[in-house]
Symmetry: C2
Subunit: 340 residues, 2 copies
DNA sequence: AAATGCAGTTAAATCGATTTATCAGCCCGT
DNA sequence: ACGGGCTGATAAATCGATTTAACTGCATTT
């Protein structure tokens, strides 16, 4: 028993396949097809469970109902949580997701974009690495709906969803200062991306206001965790006079906590800790780590809303919108209970 | 400048599109096409960067080069880590991934399978919920390559990749017993799936050997974490005489630790903790939690190897294979340093 | 009576590839 | 001089849908 095609249906009912197609696409009324026939067709289609071949459909219409989702790394809890929510919303709206991890590698991302393009995805959701500007522009030029998130590309005019990195970072640093900490380091991944630049800036702004000296350590990203732990270890060993650290991402923060544990550093008496991106590790560490929580649901909602909007309105006239969301600052045990 | 089709190429070179197709598919030799012509075509194709429309290709050949990946929940670190690795391997072999989270919901899974099927994915990688047996059988009947992982369906004969749940669980329980613990509870999600049944069995086996009484608490899964934390809290409050708990999954384990913290229970003096599925939270908890680590890379490798194998050998004669992998038992601080 | 309009339906073109079947020369042997 | 066997290439069918353009009656205008 092969899969049925529209021709099989048409033959069986002694009707033209054109008619079937019109009926199935809800254009029966528009095409003035008799109610009785419409019903007969619908009943039969239902009965045999006929589903149009979506490939053929896509080939003809140019629409695939697939959204390409490119995150930095799906195994990062921040991205996997967002992916999960985006997936839900997308499926609910009749879209499927093809996803991939870019590793912030421009070349890899370029290849993946081409792959998506080749697959005729209808829209793109991308956490873009630097250097991918031209590829995104090229997508836009061809009228593809693109929404960036987590960061944006300053020289590309496109829709994006972000959080208020500058303020969040400023605020967290300020918090440490108010707690009495003076030698506050900022440890993060080396990255020219906007979100990290903003976080760095926020940190600097807060320190400047108080006249404290910034100490920034930039780690080169690597899939191998040991190569992240090693430089953090060196850094903390060298800078013994630090009394607080601010980690720029959840991943750095987690590695940082591992270092702190292995060096036997006491939190917060030896060293206070704050991190960007809240998650279970920070909640469960002893003492729990104060962290900046991104509004994951709101991000996912905004992203998908903006994208669906672009997908449904063919008008190219809408100028691109930037959505900047607020973060939550979750102050936890260590800093609250400590007075110095 | 529209996208080029094979006809454009053919016209421009004054050659038949058939010829172009043969050359591009490496059948030039077989079809005795002149070397000179082959070169001319290849050069031009390279020059203009022509890529065949993969939809049209898929429509004709029936192959989509897409693998459907269905995990329980992509935001669970265990699954997202595996997804990441599978993604890498798949892309390296020219396959893309469409993924989705089943939530262990049979109905949702059924719909997703149909969606995948509709999209003509070439193969399926599934962590199957119960009740989906018939759908899987139907896939197999139609000759679709299917690999299950993390669990299997006892009444469906298909390839699957798993870990040795029974032994791992037995071993972990045994470890607690050897440390001197007597009142050991097993807390997990209620689930009829094979992996959980095996874990339960292992726990029971170990306790039976020692003549201790099993105490099992099964939590109903819920997306809302509060509804997981609440029953665990009740359970721990009611069973004050417990001296150890064994959590059946990373998610339960994490929630369990939250409960332990909020109740002010001291680990391991009040309560020793062991969990299935190792990850950062367990490593960084104080004291670090002993955990059973699944060999994530090996699982991903096995899954993709088995699937690619099935995809490349059209012969249906190969009987299905089951791969059972060993786990690592990571004994950490709490249990090692404590003697009772 | 020819023209127009409309309701109801459909034949045929199209999307962009792959694959089957065939064809035009040319050489060879008988 | 004619069938057979190569070589090198292609026309046409096919995959399964959508969409355009047209066609058949019948009623209504002009």
């Amino acid at each position: 028993m092969k899969k049925l095609s529209i021709v099989d249906i048409a033959n069986h009912l002694n009707v033209s396949k054109t008619t079937i197609s019109f009926i199935l696409n809800g254009r029966a009324e528009e095409k003035r097809i008799g109610k009785e026939l419409v019903e007969r067709v619908q009943k039969f289609v239902e009965e045999v469970g006929y589903k149009p071949n979506s490939l053929a459909k896509s080939l003809r219409t140019g629409k695939s109902n697939i959204i390409g989702l490119m995150v930095e790394d799906i195994s990062n809890p921040f991205f996997s949580a967002i992916a999960r929510l985006i997936e839900d919303r997308a499926y609910k709206n009749g879209y499927k997701i093809i996803y991939c991890s870019t590793d912030n590698d421009t070349l890899k991302t370029r290849e993946l974009i081409n792959m998506f393009r080749d697959r005729h995805v209808d829209g793109y959701i991308i956490a873009p690495p630097k250097g991918i500007e031209d590829d995104i522009r090229s997508l836009l030029k061809d009228g593809m709906p693109v929404v960036l998130f987590d960061r944006h590309l300053p020289n590309v005019s496109t829709d994006f969803v972000e959080i208020d990195n500058l303020f969040s970072s400023y605020n967290a640093t300020k918090h440490l200062i108010q707690q009495g900490y003076k030698d506050i380091a900022f440890i993060t991944f080396a990255s020219g991306q906007t979100q990290m630049q903003a976080r760095l800036q926020g940190y600097h702004n807060a320190l400047n206001e108080s006249g404290y000296k910034p100490v920034v350590e930039e780690i080169v990203f690597n899939q191998n965790e040991d190569l992240i732990i090693a430089p953090i270890t060196n850094f903390l060993k060298k800078n013994k006079k630090l009394d607080a650290v601010f980690f720029g991402t959840n991943h750095v923060g987690t590695c940082g906590l591992k270092v702190i544990n292995s060096l036997g550093i006491k939190v917060p008496s030896d060293l206070a800790v704050v991190s960007f991106d809240d998650y279970d590790v920070f909640k469960l560490f002893s003492p729990p780590v104060t962290a900046i929580a991104q509004p994951i649901e709101a991000i996912a909602d905004s992203v998908i809303t903006v994208l669906l909007n672009k997908l449904n309105t063919s008008s190219q006239h809408i100028s691109s919108q930037s959505i900047i969301l607020k973060t939550d600052f979750n102050i936890r045990g260590s800093s609250k209970t400590t007075t110095r």
